[in-house]
């Protein structure tokens, strides 16, 4: 299993712990990653503004992966969804597509649709498999409740992303439960985290976040869990801002590879447990072998 790792823009600059922890768990899971410095923005933020700029940005990445002969593994769900959307659009033929192929040619690139685009969670679930993951778990969690946040751009539009059942998804829950933690049912599990309109309409953005957090709390979750830098920043950095404004108790969010990594026995430093803004160091106390593993 070998993939071109697609980090996107947020992870290297703001959520490095996702990079570190994902690499660590994928290594244990036997997935080989190839870095490509020529990858650029997936095109997601350009969708509001210009279709061509979005599609060409995406297409450059797809063409680069195709040139390397590798499938893409994306860590960010917005990158994943955008690349999938571009893949879908490039199957059609039209003026826009012609222009984009022309721009690709100017960069000496070509895209014919030969590669696959996968999200980190899909690779773990479908390619590595729950059985293999289970065999790597050395310190399972006990009495640990997690509220899984699926992330809109991976789930929908399901015809294009083909990530999971859009109404009753289960991949993420299964991946969480393989660590021994319990994935709780919560009402706003499939809702938006609020990140897409942060900076555009902060009241709306933060209200959506607030509702997710209280829904998670109501379900008795110890932590939120996400696998997307946008969602993570919203639940971590933005929630931290909200907490300092309204003084509420936070419901901290842990990145899935951090959660998985700890149960695989990878040390907290490698997983960047201390790099989150909201303190998640308490996670280690839920590990079965308990206190002695805590840093």
């Amino acid at each position: 299993m070998k993939y071109a790792l697609f980090l996107g823009c947020n992870i290297p600059s703001r959520v490095e712990q996702y990079d570190f922890s994902a690499r660590a768990v994928l290594k244990q899971a036997g997935v080989q990653l190839v870095d490509n410095r020529d990858f650029n923005c997936c095109g997601y933020p350009m969708r509001n503004v210009d279709q061509k700029a979005f599609l060409f940005s995406s297409a450059v990445n797809l063409a680069l992966a195709e040139k390397a002969g590798l499938d893409i593994l994306a860590l960010c769900k917005c990158c994943f969804g955008t690349l999938k959307e571009a893949e879908h659009l490039l199957k059609e033929e039209g003026e826009l597509q012609k222009e984009v192929h022309g721009l690709l040619a100017q960069r000496g690139l070509k895209y014919t649709g030969k590669i696959q685009i996968k999200h980190f969670l899909s690779v773990l679930y479908h390619d590595v498999g729950l059985e293999t993951l289970k065999s790597k778990i050395t310190m399972p969690y006990k009495d640990f409740k997690i509220a899984t946040h699926y992330g809109c751009h991976a789930l929908r539009p399901s015809k294009i992303t083909q990530f999971d059942d859009p109404v009753a998804p289960s991949i993420f829950d299964n991946l969480v439960e393989v660590t021994g933690a319990k994935s709780v049912d919560w009402t706003r599990k499939l809702e938006c985290c609020g990140a897409p309109v942060l900076g555009v309409n902060d009241d709306l953005s933060m209200n959506l976040t607030k509702k997710k957090i209280s829904s998670g709390k109501k379900a008795g979750a110890d932590y939120l869990c996400s696998a997307c830098p946008y969602c993570h920043l919203q639940f971590d950095t933005v929630q931290n801002m909200m907490v300092s404004q309204n003084g509420n108790d936070p419901l901290a969010s842990i990145l899935y590879p951090q959660l998985l990594g700890l149960s695989m026995g990878i040390d907290a430093r490698t997983l960047g447990i201390g790099m989150n803004q909201l303190d998640i160091s308490g996670v280690t106390s839920f590990l079965e072998s308990g206190e002695e593993n805590a840093e």
């Binding site: 350009m46 279709q51 960069r107 555009v200 920043l233």
Partner: protein, 590 residues
């Protein structure tokens, strides 16, 4: 006399320029953060900062950075070996030439008691250093004009830098070649050092030099007899050898001498050596005088930038020093294009054609902005789009060989530009995410203003067309942009069940959603069904849409609602740009 006069003039201009440029580091302002800080405070903060650093543990970091990044230029090496080689050749060659050759009176002579420019190793080294620079300049030309490194733009300043270096170096080499062949030069040397009276001896020495050292004489010509040459050799060993190594050691000059040999006598007669000497010195003087105003000023500014950025931190350093550093960084930029090569948003430049999306071109522009030049609205909107169309991935900052903290510069300038009141639709996109994360660094009022401006601009005539007294216009039925993608025609399947509106999390946020959002998702589909594109592309709903695709996923008729929203937003942005273009009052940005 004229030599000294010109030297002093160029030195004076250089010194004045240096002082002036450094003073601008303290007087000029970039962006929002520098507005409140007076020059005097910036100067005293800088003095305090420098002294504080020297007498702290940070001095070790500085020494390390100086050796690795300033002297060895590891940051360039990490990016591109050819570029590192190019820069090392130019920088090492030029520095060594400057120290050994240009400043020989002050450095080489006091340092080496036996220094003489015409004996080895100095004669050989001068050519070696010169050749290094010439190869380096050659690589620079190759990279810019043959290899065509992606997104590497060449400005007038880049042309100047290459030309001035090439002129200095080539005039030096050709001057040397001309002097090697020159009979006049030869005669001067004989007069000064050999003092020969005897006709035979004069002929013998001349023959020896013609035979062995490339001198072209009007009197003697090869072949020479053994006797004459052996007599010439004796004379050479007696009078010349101690102060003059064989010309072949000056290998670039000697090669030139070989090439110009057929025309050497004519060249000597018209005083070519003197002409070249003037060209060589004038080029050096121009280079020196103009240095502080050209990109060559990076010789001073870039090390300062590398050192300053190695020890300064965003939240810990004095804001006055950050303001100063950001102006200084503009001088540290060499327009090398590494940032643009690695820029995450660079495909948007290919697609939209706005040069200012590329970080290296933004830097060029910022120099004009910091200098206080006035901007036309058109230019302002282009630069604003360029500065805003940034994913804040920080790659430019990571790769910059000059160590410039570009990410802080962009944030600072971006905020300044969007406060000028010219609406920027990009603030209504996820490009604003980073601004949202940093909202605590911006006052509430300033934070809201660009959003209000942009919302107003993209709404177009929405309020007017929504007014019940406005007659419904059907002229925008066939909007070309909406026909581009097959998916956008799917609105015609809508049978008005309102599922989209029911599942929308944004609609659910509001007590009275229509009042806030203008139109609800199903109403927008209705508008499109009726051909009311202008109405459909105006409501706030489009920009508050979190693109969660709930509506599209749940639509029983497979209407691709979210994707249609994207199309409508693109259309609104285009319309806003058109309106701005037509009615642009010439805002001044000074």
């Amino acid at each position: 006399m004229i030599f000294n006069l010109l030297l002093y003039i160029s030195l004076a201009v250089f010194t004045f320029g240096l002082i002036y440029k450094i003073s601008t580091w303290f007087s000029r302002r970039i962006g929002i953060s520098a507005k409140q800080i007076p020059t005097s405070e910036r100067v005293s903060a800088a003095v305090k900062g420098v002294l504080g650093t020297i007498f702290s543990g940070k001095i070790l970091t500085l020494i390390k950075v100086f050796i690795l990044d300033v002297v060895l230029q590891i940051r360039i090496l990490k990016e591109d070996f050819l570029r590192w080689l190019m820069h090392m050749l130019i920088y090492a060659g030029f520095m060594l030439l400057l120290l050994m050759h240009a400043l020989e009176n002050f450095i080489s002579e006091p340092l080496f008691t036996d220094y003489y420019s015409t004996i080895n190793p100095f004669m050989f080294l001068r050519d070696l250093f010169g050749l290094m620079v010439i190869i380096g300049v050659g690589i620079a030309i190759y990279r810019r004009f043959v290899l065509k490194v992606p997104r590497l733009k060449t400005s007038a300043m880049d042309h100047y830098a290459i030309i001035i270096l090439a002129v200095i170096m080539l005039s030096g080499v050709i001057l040397e070649g001309a002097k090697i062949t020159s009979y006049t030069e030869y005669q001067i040397m004989v007069e000064d050092y050999a003092d020969l009276e005897d006709e035979d001896e004069i002929t013998a020495l001349e023959s020896y030099w013609v035979q062995n050292f490339g001198t072209v004489s009007p009197n003697v010509q090869a072949p020479f007899s053994e006797d004459v040459l052996s007599m010439g050799k004796d004379l050479h060993e007696g009078s010349c050898m101690d102060c003059h190594s064989a010309s072949q050691w000056a290998f670039t000059g000697y090669a030139t001498a070989k090439i110009i040999k057929p025309v050497a006598l004519a060249l000597d007669r018209v005083g070519t050596s003197t002409i070249l000497w003037y060209i060589h010195f004038l080029a050096c003087f121009i280079g020196l005088a103009y240095l502080p105003f050209s990109k060559m000023f990076h010789i001073f500014a870039t090390p300062v930038s590398l050192l300053a950025n190695a020890i300064m931190e965003k939240d810990k350093s004095d804001p006055a020093n950050i303001a100063t550093r950001q102006v200084m960084e503009l001088d540290a930029c060499t327009h090398c294009g590494t940032c643009s090569l690695r820029c995450s948003a660079s495909p948007a430049f290919d697609a939209l054609g706005n040069e200012y999306i590329l970080p290296s071109e933004k830097m060029t522009f910022l120099k004009t902005l910091a200098a206080g030049k006035k901007l036309s609205t058109r230019k302002l909107s282009a630069i604003q789009e360029g500065v805003y169309l940034c994913t804040n991935c920080d790659r430019c900052t990571v790769v910059c060989p000059s160590g410039i903290n570009l990410k802080e510069l962009w944030f600072n300038v971006r905020e300044d530009l969007v406060q000028r009141g010219f609406p920027e639709p990009l603030v209504l996109s996820p490009f604003s995410f980073y601004r949202g994360l940093n909202r605590e660094n911006i006052s509430t009022e300033d934070y809201a203003r660009p959003l209000t401006d942009a919302n107003r601009a993209v709404a177009g005539k929405f309020e007017q067309v929504m007014d019940p007294s406005t007659p419904i216009s059907l002229k925008d039925r066939e909007i070309v942009e909406l026909n581009e993608l097959p998916s956008t025609r799917t609105f015609s399947y809508c049978f008005g069940c309102q599922t989209c509106t029911t599942v929308c999390p944004v609609v659910a946020e509001y007590e009275n959603p229509q009042e806030t959002l203008g139109l609800l998702p199903h109403q927008i589909m209705n508008c499109l069904g009726l051909g009311l594109v202008e109405m459909a592309s105006g409501p706030r709903m489009l920009w508050d849409c979190v693109t969660c695709y709930q509506c599209q996923e749940h639509c029983p008729q497979n209407v691709e609602i979210t994707d249609i929203f994207f199309q409508l937003k693109n259309l609104a942005v285009k319309n806003a740009a058109k309106v701005a273009d037509e009615s642009s009052p010439d805002l001044e940005a000074a």
